[in-house]
Symmetry: C2
Subunit: 330 residues, 2 copies
């Protein structure tokens, strides 16, 4: 992408004023649809990039931002990719998505690629990396934003604030007379825990509930793991009457299994998902869940990345509020 | 990724014979799980690549293969990405996914990136490109594989063979006494048509059915377009009793709208999807569809790409057979 292209070149190609180009780029003033399209076409045609990206390009970097995720089959990450793309595209940055299948070697391979190809930046949901793995990037001066429950060293962090939403979920569950809660949790991360499980455990105490080890199942963040976890929970003595799930894919797997076993949802067992993935409202009954907006995560990550490209050096954390979404499974 | 790493280096690091490394890479003989893991770890650690990739690297190319798709929110493409990744990973090639939102400027921007960054190859489902746009790649010597219904110039092609599956769908539909078929088709592609619509039209004649223009709605390949299209079809005189959909997302949108309008599926109207996306079996009633296996497409595309990297110069087409999947909506 040519660095020498200026806003004036874009204006000339689009047949508009430089100010109009600037308005289209900044979004600070409304620009008529046809004019906007002409400017966007000229930007694309000429490969124009605004300062932020241009600065990174002058340092020899590519205009690629890698989004590294553990499972592209989970629509949360497709939404995150779309959101990130929408934010970064006007800056001339191109998002490319890398699916690691939560495999540590793959995660590291993509970090290496980012360094070797001098990517403009990395946005990553690490699964099996440790803070040390990120040194590779910081040494190469490539900004990284982590989207996760916990920080990784000195990288910027976008993280959920799900406390209020989970409290609302527990209020709904206990209000429906449920007392025996269980969880189909995710795999242990690099720190050995699952923050969603730990949050549920901490809040349960406040509701006078217990979450004994025998009512906690662990698995991957997949539909298959949800089915297996639910089958196990239905086999224990004093089986649970409310099951919290690590994410919506896990909850859908639990619903599959409930149907197979003839267990009524929510008649016999209430089910609570997490994320509000696109299919949460698709299944019947519609899944009650805790929404963690991938769009908001993408926006926050883009902002943090652009700030770094603009020269910020201190570490930042952005908390994205989750929201309880009552539907039909409690 | 270092090119100088040899199979012998990998063997030494993994504490196995060179032959064992070769078996792991080729899959020609079974290798015990632990041994396989050790070899794979050594491959990842040393950044070893087999000849195919090494050859491209020696020519100054990166190990990145770009998968360029129109809509990452469609699980078909997430599956395609996973399949492609699985095939190319043992060769030391890294798949990165680019979402164009079916936008021509974006499609061209990624082709330009591929050239500028000297990617190892491109696998693409083009939406608004023409054959001419691919010259950029062929001039740079970057192999491209198109996954689409129609060829684009001299690029290799992976394309569906859905004739038998669609015939089976029509047999099922007419067997259920339906005569008034309609289609919620996709947008016009670069050639001005929608091959799935044209196939249905051609086959309908063989079944003594007609598919008049008033019973064909066009839209994007989205749930929203499906809902809008279905609403329109329910408003026409002599409304259809069977609706074929451009893909499963469109069919799910039609189901949403049917529920809203109180139209029974399949009682009042039969519904047929396309692709067998992950959510096709998730909805109730389960969606009858035509399966086009993203896994098979990914395998075929990987094979074609590797052949090109190995030096093949003549154009090839691989046809992937679609399959009728009867469930509960006819």
């Amino acid at each position: 992408m040519a660095v020498r292209v200026t806003m004036a070149d874009v204006a000339r190609a689009a047949g508009v004023s430089t100010a109009t180009v600037s308005y289209v780029l900044s979004g600070k003033r409304a620009v008529a649809g046809g004019t906007r399209k002409a400017v966007e076409a000229a930007i694309a045609e000429l490969g124009f990039t605004v300062n932020t990206a241009a600065r990174s390009l002058r340092t020899g970097r590519s205009s690629i931002v890698a989004l590294v995720v553990p499972d592209l089959a989970n629509p949360f990450y497709a939404q995150l990719a779309a959101s990130l793309r929408e934010e970064l595209r006007p800056l001339g940055l191109h998002v490319m998505v890398c699916d690691t299948k939560a495999d540590r070697d793959e995660e590291r391979a993509y970090l290496r690629e980012a360094v070797q190809q001098r990517f403009a930046g990395v946005v990553i949901t690490p699964f099996r990396l440790t803070a040390k793995d990120f040194l590779l990037l910081s040494e190469a001066g490539i900004p990284a934003v982590v989207s996760a429950d916990l920080p990784f060293g000195e990288t910027d962090l976008v993280t959920p604030d799900a406390r209020a939403a989970m409290r609302a979920a527990l209020t709904e569950v206990t209000g429906a007379g449920r007392r025996r809660i269980a969880m189909i949790a995710g795999p242990r991360d690099a720190t050995g825990g699952d923050p969603r499980l730990e949050l549920l455990r901490a809040l349960a105490v406040q509701f006078g509930l217990s979450l004994p080890g025998r009512l906690v199942v662990r698995g991957e963040h997949t539909r298959e793991a949800g089915a297996a976890g639910f089958a196990h929970l239905m086999g224990v003595k004093h089986r649970p009457d409310a099951v919290f799930c690590a994410n919506d894919a896990v909850a859908i797997g639990a619903m599959d299994k409930a149907e197979e076993l003839g267990v009524g949802i929510p008649g016999d067992v209430a089910l609570i998902g997490h994320d509000d993935a696109s299919f949460a409202s698709l299944v019947r009954p519609r899944l009650t869940t805790v929404r963690y907006s991938a769009v908001d995560v993408g926006r926050a990550a883009a902002r943090l990345l652009v700030e770094r490209l603009d020269g910020r050096v201190t570490r930042r954390t952005v908390r994205v509020k989750a929201e309880f979404v009552p539907r039909e499974t409690v």
